[in-house]
Structure formats: C-alpha cells, structure tokens
C-alpha cells in the first residue's frame, strides 16, 4: 500500500478479465451506483414522508430509482442479456430526463416538487443528463462479441 507505483494500463494488475468492468467502465459503474443510491434515498424519503403531496412526481422518482439500480447491475454483469438490459435502462433514463426535463419547464404545475429528472437533472448537477450519454457511448464501444463470448472487446 506504500508504493507510489503508477498504473500503466486500464486493467488492474493480476487480472486477465476483459469486458465492461475495466478502466473508465468502473468509474461509470460507481457513478451510476451513487446516483442509484441518491435517487433511492430521496425517493424513500418522499414516499414515506409526503406521498400525498405529489404522488405523480414521487412515483416517477421511485421508478427512476429502480431503473438506476437495474442499470448499475446491468453494467456490472456480463453477457448479451445484461448488455441489452443496460441499453434499455440507460435509454429509458435518457428518454426520461429529456421528456420530464422538458415538461418540467413547459408546465411546472405537473411536477410541483422536484424529481431526479426535473429541469434535466439540475438538482443533481445535470448528472442524470450526462451519465446516460456516457453510458451509451461506453456500451457501444464494449458490445459482446458476435460469437457470444462474454464481454470480449470487438
């Protein structure tokens, strides 16, 4: 733990694993995990404390939190099925943040209380907007090989 050796490559030393859980992918997974945790925490507080105040907004928050959790898991796991799930969840999030973001600006009455996607995720430093785009770029570059082997780079 005391050496200041630099890390020469993307993979951790000693492992020959290929796949999505390498390099920047790990950071992506961690940020998704933090966002999932934040969204779940906030959703929990909203639903337990004051669901009747804005049931639509809070249900949406809960749905978004679940989708973030599934997306995080899908990014970690390997295989074609999880790859597809990752695309679907991240795509859904991007759609969600764009649609809800626009709606929250056009008709603020629909979402009187902030959701994770209000104003394109402003309440979360626009991370909900940028992250799906990064996620999709990452997925596109790390598609499972056509032969069906798990996670090998094309």
């Amino acid at each position: 733990m005391n050496e200041l050796k630099t890390d020469s490559g993307d993979n951790a030393t000693g492992t020959t694993k290929t796949g999505r859980v390498t390099g920047i992918g790990r950071v992506l997974i961690m940020v998704y995990g933090v966002l999932a945790l934040a969204a779940t925490g906030r959703s929990f507080v909203q639903i337990v404390g004051k669901f009747n105040e804005a049931p639509l907004a809070y249900t949406l928050s809960a749905l978004a939190a679940v989708v973030y959790i599934v997306a995080t898991i899908a990014l970690i796991n390997r295989g074609r099925a999880w790859y597809r799930i990752a695309w679907i969840t991240i795509g859904f999030e991007l759609l969600g943040v764009l649609v809800i973001g626009t709606l929250s600006l056009v008709d603020p009455q629909l979402f009187p209380h902030d959701t994770v996607w209000s104003v394109y995720g402003r309440g979360y430093l626009f991370i909900p907007l940028v992250l799906p785009i990064l996620g999709m770029w990452w997925l596109a570059r790390h598609a499972p090989a056509r032969a069906g082997r798990n996670g090998a780079a094309a």
Binding site: M1, N2, E3, L4, K5, T6, D7, S8, D10, N11, A12, T13, G23, I24, R26, V27, M30, V31, G33, V34, L37, A38, G41, R42, F44, V45, V48, G49, H113, D114, L125
Partner: protein, 122 residues
C-alpha cells in the same frame, strides 16, 4: 449539526475528493494517502452521526426533515466503505478515481444535510 464542524468536514471531503481524483487521473494506485484521506472523510461522517444524535438533546434541533437528513447521512457513511473496499480489491488508478468520486459525493451530501438542518425545507 454544528456549523463550523460541518464546514470543516465539507472542506476536508472536497480536498480529499480532488486529491484522489488528481492522483487517480495521474495514474496512481490507491496508497496510504488516498486511502487515508477517504478514511478521514469517513471518520468525520461517523463523528457527524454522533453530533446529530446528541445535538437535539443540547437544544440544537434540525429545522427540516430528520428522515431526509438521516437518509443522506446513512448513504454518505456507506459510500467511503464501498469505495474503500473496491480500492482494496482492485488496485488500479481507477479505484483511486472512484475514491475521489466518493469523497466529492460525500461533500455534496454533507452540504445538503447542512441545508436540511439549518434552513427549513427540501
């Protein structure tokens, strides 16, 4: 929450986050410096938990939702643990970057907690 202590915690978490980010992007694996910084952030969070429990007994009440406050605090306490475990398993530059992400996330959460405690509302 005690304001000066919280601001101190904010500063430590931000510096630790930027430090780990910098070290990680420069290619350094997790070392005593980055792990130690994260550990310090975690210790301050545990201290914050104690403060939060004791403070109302001393007349220092939260103005906002305690449920929200503690949800943030528990989440924040979990993050350095997750990041630290990851850094022990995967000894690469990205683990150090993740430590930085964790510390910065904690800083944001501490800021939110301060808002909840001192300035009423969500």
């Amino acid at each position: 929450m005690i304001e000066w202590f919280t601001y101190l915690q904010l500063a430590v978490a931000t510096v630790a986050g930027l430090l780990c980010l910098g070290l990680g992007l420069a290619g350094r694996k997790p070392t005593d410096l980055s792990m130690g910084a994260t550990l310090l952030v975690e210790l301050l969070l545990i201290a914050q938990l104690v403060v939060a429990i004791v403070a109302p007994l001393a007349g220092n009440q939260a103005t906002g939702s305690l449920l929200e406050f503690y949800t943030y605090l528990v989440s924040a306490i979990l993050l350095p643990i997750a990041g630290g475990v990851w850094a022990l398993i995967e000894r690469s530059r990205w683990s150090t970057v993740i430590l930085g992400v964790v510390c910065l996330s904690v800083a944001v959460m501490v800021y939110r907690m301060l808002q909840i405690w001192t300035v009423q509302g969500v």
